[in-house]
Amino acid sequence: MLQNKYSFNQSSTELVIFGLPDYSNNDKNDNISIISGWKLSIIDQPEIEGSIDHLKSLIKAFYKCAALSLLDRKEKIESELIDLNLDESGSYRITLKSTKPNVKPLKIKIGYAEFSDIIICFDQLKNFKKIKIDFNELKPNIKKKSIFSFNKNKFASDIIPPLIAFFTVSLFTLIGIYFFENKDSRDKNISKISNNPNIMIKIK
């Protein structure tokens, strides 16, 4: 039986899927229901390949990371087979863990451009009718933000500056009140003295 092979390309990335039709599922000859292998090539990066479980983990992690990036949320994506995180320099760091013993994890660093190319390749695969993968189980599970959720960074940037401003204004106001009150009482003392007919103030 001949293996079917389909490839999906986008700029720097190529995803190739190999597999066989499942005739018990009434598949046609050119369908793939049983994925026997896959390969993801990114320019200037080592080739990635693995089992169907690896592919599913990869797609799930990338879809979740895309959703989090779009929502501007920072969450670590870690699983048995893949870690995927956005670092401070704005690059995505991928750690692929092998199921084989004594194989070191493969670490890859990609930019936004390559990241979006990979996502588009996965989208092409998702919409390709001849390859049957259940994408429902790969949907990103993103929890809705609670209204009461506490965001440290937002607190620091939104609440602390007005509070500092408020305390600074209050402090200066109090100093001002104290200063002018003292001045007023001094002026009152002077007027009392000058109102006294027995005291003469000489003004040059």
Binding site: A67, S69, L70, L71, G90, Y112, K144
Partner: protein, 155 residues
Amino acid sequence: MLLLAIETIDLNGSESMFAISNKLNLQHLFPSKVSIWKLRSNNPMRKSQNINNFSNEQLDGLIKITSEMSKYLYPYVRAIISSKDNYINKPELWNDFQSRYIELIEQRFNTESIIVKNLIDYDYSQEFFKKILLTLSLVSSDEGYNRLKFVLANL
């Protein structure tokens, strides 16, 4: 902001958006260019903000137009992101994009607002602009419409 980024890349953006809306058979929602403009002018950051009532269907149409436009512009969007990722060697595209985007923001938005002031600050706005481009690139596939809708529903 996404539509303004599209206009930054496509100099004839408003014409293209209208052409795309016709291509997507959205004439009943956007019979003229003005109807798209009216919807866009609901943005509170605009100099001349007009609060117009709009239906969910119109909002949905605007999401479709954004996703479809980004499909056409993907090669350019990607090139600008690459220029930013590789800024030391190829700064030109990013610089052009940033300066034109800021120019458009200054023309259309209320520059007295603190948010807009931050947007037109060359250093402060870089990360935000990069995120806008990433959003455009991630909504440029066939899944783009669903993705953008999911994001807007979860903001």
